[in-house]
Amino acid sequence: MLTLSLFIIPLIAGLVLLNIKNKGLASSISLVVSIIQIAVFVYAFSVFKDKSALLSFDKPWLSDFAIRFHLGLDGLSLIMVGLTVVLVSIILLAIKNLNYENIPKLLGLILLTEAALVGVFSAKDIFLFYFFFELALVPVYLIANLWGGENSSKITFKMFIYTVFGSLFMLISFVLLYMRGQSGDIESIKVTVSLLPNLIKQILFWGLLLAFSIKMPIFPFHTWLPDAYSKSPTPATMLLSGLLSKMGVYGLIRILLPFAPSGIQLYGEIIIILAVAGLVYGSIIAIKQNEIKRLIAYSSFAHMGLMAGAVLTLSVTGLQGAIFQMVAHGFNAVGLFYIAKIIFDKTGSRSLTTLGGMTQSAPLLTVMFMVVLLGSVALPLTNGFVGEFLMLKAVFDFNHVIGILAGLSVVFGAVYMLRFFQKTMYGPSNDITIKITDIGTKEMMVLVPIVIVVLLTGVFPNLILDISASFVNSLGVLNK
């Protein structure tokens, strides 16, 4: 029931907000929903260990077919739902302070995205998973189109077609699985997959892999990403980079690992090489970027590559690292895109060449930016470090050469991030940057929680690793 309410509350609130015109009322509704959601999640978190029956919701959906409306939380789902609930609250808070037109509708669409994401991360039935996987994209598509600038319809169209095309291959795999097992339940399908004929196993592996690697994305399916991230309005970018890209990694762990283990054994290495190639490629491109949002976009792409690689090593460390990094990257990406938006609003520029010297006029922003940035470059005692360290160890254990290549990219990461920081905050200030005002309480309300999470999870990684450990150990397909 708790999981259901996590899904239903934002769904209803989102639909209500779409029909409200008053901005003040809309913001207070979204605030109340955020608080309720966090409260419900905290309660769910507290009963997770001993009364986990409370978290499950299971009703038949289609009687002729064994397809059920089954939501539930295990270790992985709990972490992902928590990430969704907290991040969406932060995004909602951030949006209210930005001067967009038609704020109530924007908030409503974000809440609908939250509902779909909670659905994705807690679905226990493959078809339910597929629905929410597709559904999550629709509100983001609308946000990107309606609040985006010129050309946005062309770019978001590319993104939409790309990802929907990918997930149709997932649908092929799911229908095949369903036909074999006559059940949509993830747990019971896990048991039957090893009995499938070889051809089906191959189709399954490639179909699922294609869907998830487009969503994340993994090299070479990333071509939609730079434009989509940099040309979409900030709310859409935050949702895409912070949460929607995580659906891909989540899919890898939840669906691909248990459903197509033989495929991973066979082709895992190639995919890891591709993923790490994307990591290196993304990092190098990011170094050369001049536009802030594009830079963050490529850094995001690089991080996703490492996560995919780590998951496919089929090791406990890799999986733990990837799960941890999903949370860390979610917060860091949202923080960075928000800071980019603040900088743009204050200076009217996103170009590194025209910025600089902001630290004098905006010291608070500098501090906040510094912390989020250090998290992103994986400095010890920040959240980025734990995940990256675990993932790199896993990749290195898997294959030393790939591991060293992946390690190099951390260096690149430090280069482009620090260059970003230096070119905006330090250096000589110009006419525009000298005049800007520092951030106020409104912005601090968004950035402080992010900074707290960055430091807290960096110092006490076990907060997350303990929960995910129970899930990772129960997975049973990992190399010992």
């Binding site: 597709e134 946005s152 319809s153 169209f157 929907v164 092929i172």
Partner: protein
């Protein structure tokens, strides 16, 4: 059985009412007749049997299918509200013809005798030949009308030849006689196969499955939009159920042989329909080619031919009717608002900036297109899922994969109008008449509702 009687009488009444009643009150009267017909169908609920000297069958599932046909007619009539009052001199005649067409469609979904199949098909077709050419001074309408007429009559001829051969082989027009292929005639088997092939071809012409689809795009484009919507939904529904009845009752014992050919036709329909639609810029042509591929999907249930296939097909036609009618409805309103050379603008760019002009219409269009392309949480997803799953259980895995890949292709052209709605425009906002608005809302709401809970309708079968 009762709807057939009701509409035959009410169609005639309508013609007389056109002389005496004001134009404005004709639509409510028409809707009332259609509703009475819809409800009268349920008098026979739980009273299955054969009526009219074994000419027509009645059963609960057939009543449901008949309701789908009548519902589609009601929705199309709802869209006509402003249009008929403004533009047409004698709306009563069109309403009457639409009711007669519905009679034909109802006979086609429930016939028990091939004579009734022929009569039903002709009642439906002759009414539609007139409706297609109803815009008398529009040369495109003329062209569509004569093409539809010549191709329709040609297809009827082929169908009749098939029926005659079937009769030669079995000695009866009853659809259950298929299995009793005459023993005394050595040529019985040959006659039977010629009959089967010609009947199939004749009906595949009408449902516009490839390679018998070439007339579709021209006819859909040239006919007045409201009648295109009527054709796309009611004719398709009636013909596919006629085919299904024949496949189950008359031809099922030869399933292994003809299914191999049919599945190729399905594949062709999907490929030709979807790939050609990609290159179109006229919205009606896009929907025409999309309807070819939809016909392919509908025919999948003939490949399935299991216990659930009939329900799958019923769900498919209902979902298709909602999505198509709402798509055409939005288009009808928008294109009549923006004239080019005195005619409605039918190019896709007519949707430019719709989101700013009237967001409700844009959302309805979005839902309709999502449903036609089969995106989850619209009824279109389930309808495709049901039929594909059905066919795949018979071992045709490649058609499953082809179907899903073609859905992916279809996304491209279904999203063309949606992309246009986000564009910018200088035009003013659009006002929509109350009845048309209600119709569109119902269509969109039902599409989503059936997408979330398909069992609401699927469970009735």
């Amino acid at each position: 059985m009762y709807p057939i009687i009701v509409f035959s009488v009410s169609g005639l009444l309508m013609l007389y009412l056109g002389l005496s009643v004001s134009k404005k009150s004709l639509l409510p009267i028409n809707l009332a007749f259609l509703l009475i017909g819809l409800l009268s169908g349920f008098i026979d609920w739980n009273a299955p049997g054969l009526y009219f000297n074994n000419m027509v069958e009645v059963s609960n599932t057939l009543i449901l299918v008949q309701s789908v046909v009548i519902l589609a007619a009601i929705l199309v009539a709802g869209l006509s509200s402003k249009l008929f009052e403004d533009a047409i001199d004698h709306p009563a005649e069109y309403y009457a013809l639409m009711q007669f067409a519905v009679v034909g469609a109802l006979i086609m979904v429930s016939f028990q005798n091939l004579i009734m199949l022929f009569v039903g098909l002709e009642i439906l077709s002759v009414a539609l030949y007139v409706l297609a050419g109803s815009d008398k001074r529009n040369l495109r309408g003329n062209e569509a009308s004569i093409k539809y007429f010549l191709m329709g009559a040609f297809a009827t001829g082929i169908l009749l030849f098939g029926i005659a051969m079937f009769y030669g082989a079995t000695g009866s027009f009853d659809i259950n006689s298929g299995s009793s292929v005459a023993n005394n005639l050595p040529e019985g088997k040959i006659f039977f196969w010629i009959g089967l092939i010609f009947i199939f071809i004749g009906l595949l012409f009408k449902i516009s499955a490839a390679p018998f689809h070439f007339w579709t795009a021209d006819v859909y484009q040239g006919s007045p939009t409201i009648f295109t919507a009527f054709m796309a939904t009611i004719v398709k529904t009636a013909v596919i159920f006629a085919l299904y009845r024949l496949a189950v009752y008359s031809f099922s014992f030869e399933y292994d042989n003809w299914s191999k050919f049919l599945v190729i036709i399905i594949g062709l329909s999907m490929i030709i329909g979807n790939l050609t639609a990609v290159y179109q810029s006229n919205f009606k042509r896009i929907l025409a080619y999309s309807s070819i591929s939809q016909a392919g999907f509908m025919l999948l249930s003939l490949i399935g031919l299991g216990e659930q296939s009939f329900g799958n097909l019923g769900f498919y036609t209902l979902s298709y009717a909602f999505a198509t009618i709402s798509g055409f409805g939005v288009f009808l309103i928008v294109s009549n608002d923006q004239l080019v050379d005195g005619r409605p603008n039918e190019n896709i760019n007519v949707f430019n900036g719709l989101f700013k002009r009237n967001p409700d219409l844009a959302v309805i269009l979005l839902i309709s297109m999502l449903s036609l392309s089969g995106i989850p949480l619209t009824s279109g997803f389930w309808s495709k899922f049901f039929v594909l799953n059905d066919a795949a259980t018979k071992g045709y895995l490649w058609i499953l994969i082809l179907g899903i890949v073609m859905s992916a292709v279809s996304l491209y052209y279904y999203f063309k109008p949606i992309r246009a709605t986000f564009g910018s425009t200088e035009s003013e906002s659009i006002t929509v008449s109350a009845i048309a608005k209600a119709t569109l809302y119902v269509c969109a709401a039902m599409t989503v509702l059936l997408g979330v809970a398909p069992n609401l309708f699927r469970g009735l079968f």
